[in-house]
């Protein structure tokens, strides 16, 4: 069950955004930016506010790769799998990350620190291979660089 506080936040986003044209997209971003994911419990209030069926909302959320219906780890590590990064060895970076973190894509490390996601181009193709951790893009990534990023992320978790 969602806490009352989270439900309250959802209601607040709805109040601010529900009358915007095309409101569903910015509403979902607001909820995910705030809570880290889109709880299924939000479908009911959204459906009321926008006069949409719960099925429509579910269809919307699952259509877009960016939206998640489960909480993520504290950090999201996205690895670019697209062609330019492939040409510079992103396959090795992918397998290195999976092995090092002991998880596959769409999974979260046991300590709840890092969620691993694939991404298809970060617009950083002149500096391939590229990854993104939270909002930060990193170019010309090596295994050492990955070690550093993961260490840095975990260090901040314990603060």
């Amino acid at each position: 069950m969602l806490t009352d506080n989270k439900l309250l936040k959802i209601e607040e986003h709805l109040t601010v955004l529900k009358d915007k044209p095309g409101a569903l997209l910015p509403i979902m971003h607001a909820i995910q930016d705030d809570l880290g994911y889109i709880p299924e419990e939000s479908y009911e209030p959204i459906s009321k506010a926008l006069s949409l069926s719960v099925a429509e909302i579910h269809g919307f959320v699952t259509f877009y790769h960016h939206f998640r219906t489960k909480p993520s780890g504290k950090h999201i590590l996205q690895i670019c799998r697209a062609e330019s990064c492939q040409s510079m060895g992103s396959e090795n970076i992918e397998s290195y990350c999976k092995e090092k973190l002991g998880i596959d894509y769409h999974q979260t490390t046991e300590d709840n620190s890092i969620t691993l996601e694939p991404v298809y181009c970060l617009g950083n193709c002149a500096c391939s291979p590229a990854v993104m951790i939270d909002d930060e893009v990193i170019g010309r990534v090596t295994e050492d660089k990955i070690d550093e990023l993961i260490q840095e992320a975990k260090k901040n978790d314990n603060l």
């Binding site: 062609e83 181009c121 002149a126 990193i138």
Partner: protein, 516 residues
Amino acid sequence: MTTYKIYIPRDSSALSLGADKVFKAIKVEAANRKIELEIIRNGSRGLFWLETMVEVETDQGRVAYGPINPSDIPSMFDREFFLGKEHSLSLGITSEIEWLKNQERLTYARVGITDPVSLNDYEAHDGFKGLRKALKLTNQEIVDEVTDSGLRGRGGAAFPTGIKWQTVLNAPSEKKYIVCNADEGDSGTFSDRMIMENDPFVLIEGMIIAGLAVGADQGYIYLRSEYPHAQAILNEAIDIAEKNGFLGKNILNSKFSFKLEVTRAAGAYICGEETSLLESLEGKRGLVRYKPPLPAIEGLYGKPTVVNNVISLATIPIILDKGSKFYADFGMGRSKGTLPIQLAGNLKQTGLIEKAFGITLRELLYDFGGGSATGKNIKAVQVGGPLGAFLPEHQFDTPLDYEKFSEINAVVGHGGIVAFDDSIDMSKLARYSFEFCAIESCGKCTPCRIGSTRGMEVIDKIKDGIDQEKNVEVLKDLGETMVHGSLCAMGGMTPFPVISALNFFPKDFGLEKSET
């Protein structure tokens, strides 16, 4: 005390290589040595193998140093780089660097030179001149100017921008929209991002002119969710433009009003397709619409809508400022003007090159790109994103020109060029093309939704040596079915990279005979 003017880029590719760390290190070192610096966070010049590239203003013009790492900072201060003096990482006068000197920067005239969010800088470098001229013209005169320039959509389909605008202008409606397609989903491309991060006002100006031309008072920038830096900079620039009378009511004291907003996308490649994008903007799933009606007639919320790529819109101000003839004099054949080319992948020198149409791939790969990063032979390039064909070495003399590319079943698209060296397995890339299509298909057409998964299986069989001859036929048939049975280019063009890989590199599929 003298103040020295230093430039350190804030473009996200430069940041991805540590530009912020360089910025901090320079600040700390300057403070320790009691040297007064004025540091400007400019855009990137687009020479990414030299980032972080630091520039200093001197009497001879700006001089550059790069690639700079924080550990280089003490020696740079020892050598008094802030006076423009020599250092082992000196690159000389920036504008004299070959890579830049050999370009024709029109759309990118200011990129890397100015502070992206300084309105003063923008206006001092010819900003808003196009808009000021447009405000003195009739709607039809503006559209004529765009039509005569020969500008074709830079988002991929290369449709003449003037004709699109004319259709929207002619459509009778109280409400019309300008939608900027900033979804930039094609891998190997980053020119939209560079405009938005490094010269956001030029996009804003282009959108205002578009609104003025067709009679629209509302604009949206549909921005891919992977671009948080661009989002922040665009919002900052829109805010500044509003406060200074360039957006909102009665722009520059005219009767014209225009509002602009950024909408963040949510990570679906198909939402770069214009009708899917409109569905998404309306708050729905991004299912591709049947055409007709064209978005120009029934677009956003059923109203006439201009949907244009970032680069198309950002090229409008210079066309209005310098005139259609000036622009049309660049280029070749029916490919007029310049194209921002993005060199990516396995190359020594990657980055942004704005060049008149007509330059060959070979010139780009070797003269600009300096050959592969690994020093091996370049085996193939993919031009125009994930739906573009792979071109083998014997096609490298093809000039960048929409028609010349289409003669060889290839596309110029959004101008991204990704190079691969000879360690690449082309069958893996072909398989990936299908995988990408399977992941990103909107699901409306069976050949695209199911065919893409089928395609991966067939490639696996060919590689495993199972009924090769038969399965090659199956693969080609599947390609045909997708080309002809798909509503949009996602399913309709995925066969291009696949079949080009198969035709030109049969050995990589475990096939003996070469058809090249």
